[in-house]
């Protein structure tokens, strides 16, 4: 076990865990930040997506020891009160079915739009292809990403 100081959602948290513990489980089991979801555990589905210095990252395969000083943002810290443009667009388009994948989808979309604020539909499809939605809300996801891109 070792102590790690993590910068998460603008605050510093100290956790005492094994080096190889994935950031996902540090968030969920040790810090109570359960908005970041577990689904495949092997970087295939995107349910666990967080931002590391603003980049979309699969937290299920990110050992806590590799995080260092990076700024971690989770769905809980994406905005003050759910008012990030992507969250707003998600609500407006009414994207979710079961909703389980959606935190990861939102985090991926937010990082993508930060890089590319005026994407084509094809670029949206490419970017969002890394997240699986078992309920098949893909049409709504692309609509919401496009809406978020148009709004501010």
């Amino acid at each position: 076990m070792a102590n790690f100081n993590l910068k998460i959602n603008g605050k510093t948290h100290t956790v005492d865990v094994e080096d190889d513990t994935p950031l996902l489980w540090v968030l969920r089991d040790h810090l109570g930040l359960v908005g970041t979801k577990f689904s495949c555990g092997i970087a295939q589905c995107g349910a666990c997506t967080v931002h590391l210095n603003g980049n979309s990252t699969f937290s299920c395969v990110t050992p806590v020891s590799s995080v260092g000083n990076a700024e971690v943002t989770t769905i809980e810290g994406l905005s003050e009160d759910g008012n990030h443009p992507v969250q707003k667009a998600w609500a407006e388009v009414d994207v979710a079915q079961c909703g389980y994948c959606q935190a990861g989808q939102i985090m991926n979309a937010a990082a993508f739009l930060n890089e590319n604020s005026n994407p084509t539909m094809e670029e949206i499809d490419n970017a969002m292809n890394r997240n699986i939605c078992r309920c098949g809300t893909y049409h709504k996801i692309r609509e919401a990403v496009a809406l978020a891109a148009k709004t501010k």
């Binding site: 094994e18 089991d29 109570g32 009414d94 079961c98 909703g99 292809n129 309920c135 893909y138």
Partner: protein
Amino acid sequence: MSTLTKASRRDFLKIASTTAGGLFIGFNWFSCDSPKVEVLSTEEILSQAKSFNSYLSISPTGDVVIYSPNPELGQNIKTSFPMVVAEELEADWEKVRVVQANLDPAKYDRQLTGGSGAMPHSWERLRKAGATAKFVLVAAAAKTWNVPASEIKVEKGIISHEGTGKKGHFGEFVAEASTMTAPEEVTLKDKKDFKIIGTPVKNVDSKEMYTGQPMYGLDFYREGMLHAMIQRAPFGMKIKSVDDSAARGVTGVKDVITFGTSVAVVGTSTWPLLKAKKLIRVEYEPEGAVESSADHDRIFKELLATGKAEIKRENGDVASAFKNAAQVVSAEYQCPFLAHSPMEPENFFAHVKGDKVELIGPTQTPDRARQETATLLGIPPENVTVEITRLGGGFGRRLRADYVVEAVEVSRAMNAPVKVTWSREDELTGGAYRPAVRYRFEAALDATGNMVGYKLRGVGMNAGNCTRENNFPAGAVENVLIESIEHKSTITTNAWRAPITNFLAYAEQSFMDEVALAAKKDPVQFRLELLQKAKTSPVGGELGYDADRMIGVVKTAAEKSNWGKNPDVKQGFSVYFSHRSYVAQVADIAMEGGSPVLKKVTAVTDCGMVVNPTGANHQVRGGIVDGMGHAMYGNLTFENGVPKQKNFDSYRLIRMKEVPEIDVHYVDSGFDPTGLGEPALPPTGGAIANAIFSATGRRLRSQPFIEQKEFSDIKLEIRRG
């Protein structure tokens, strides 16, 4: 899920054009209209509220709490049920809070999610719940104001009397109303006066979902709770010996316990358990048949040829019809096992406290969880409480209680509260799959191309009856023989979204195309002729479907898809009745670089009245995406009782780029609403396979499509046009 929204739920988004020509979303999760209104938590409202019936409580503040008894797994029941209650109550939707009810068999019956049955089952009683509450509120106002109840109007939670100019919100009459008895019978609204039903009401859990609030079973944590993960035996095997020494050495592991064919590692957090589980050395020995996919292929062939079948339907003289036929068409179709793969893996919290048990988690059948727990522990079911969390998908997997009872076992052994979590590997290898099935179809045609004989013989692996003998084309053909054979496999199976029909529909509707082709008839015309016969002179006894409603969706789908009108687009047709709804689909294929590419699916649905258009579109599109994804890629194969595909790297699910345009339409047949969680899925595979045939001349007779060797030289694709 309680302290979520304030006064307004629907008013948190306003879209208006900005000068820049873009869109601006004025956003507030809470009420924009009444910022000064003190916002109460749902608990605060409930502490003052009076209960009117199992579904409804109203507080003196006029806030309405509507309980949603059925588990919510994405079918949107937690939004659509309350809409029905609120409609008859004439509530202000902005003042409605929705609370997921816990298991309570005294208050609710059929508290489960499955079979697309919730809405048809509850439609009347939800309306009645709202209408009777409105009745007593009106009676209370009439008494208070000393005016006739018949002169009182209710709109958006406001009760008013025009003659005297009196007016008040629901809350003002709650005390008086609660002294009154609700009537046995009550007049329901005329459907044409509906204000909430039929409108696109937004998901009541939006904010919690999009801000990452704890709401799913896996999000449940309690002080002092232990975590557990379980190593389960291959199918047909039992434990011979366990070496858990290495697993026990992992920091964070508290104990390793064995029960039945399972070995559980228990600890204080999840990650150590994921590591330790891999270190458990278990030696297994056969307990029954240890099957591989090659065995299944052999069993299918043997049983189709010589197995003793149960006759499910027999009309006319089948032997003569085939003997005298001008032409006989026959084909076999096969589908593999599939996992349910809800995005939230199975999990459950259990706390055994003496002869009482507390259960919390995602289940489609809370009562089954309760009953199986009671049976395991030998305690009365009343001693078990079940709190239903939101479910991260279900698809039928959570109709079983195996993963609940395991948590009870571990909690009992550890004498502590425990949450059992499944990994994705556990989910794919841990059983209760969509059964593998193989069918043989035969059709007899007369000289003019009429289908005069139809035979279907199916073999399923733990599939129960793998046919649907009262479904189309039964009733449309004079001589019919439908037979089912079940092979009892050690591989566990379970209902999977649209049980049986999720594959049978593809096989039947593809075969129907083969017969139409042999009869030299247009596939749509061929189906319509058969349906006309089923309508005017139905053959045999009971028919499960209404031929008229099926004709309705067939004709509308042909029209909406421009069936046969564009020579550059190759189309495939399919229509199916399941779970009381009718869905016809047309798949459009374009050839690109020698490859058939699925570009569009047109779907026409008759599910009676559409309660919530957003939810309905979700279910239709979601069902189609599910159907095409699994038809294209889904495959679970076995080697000595263990699935070869263990995670999403080898078990492929459909993704964003593979989803074509889906054009959704509804037929308003005037019937009461039927469920929509399942019916859109069954027709999809057939529409795609028929379109691929029309584009390539090659017939897909088994799934998954991309693994068929007839297609090894060309690439099959689905993607957006």
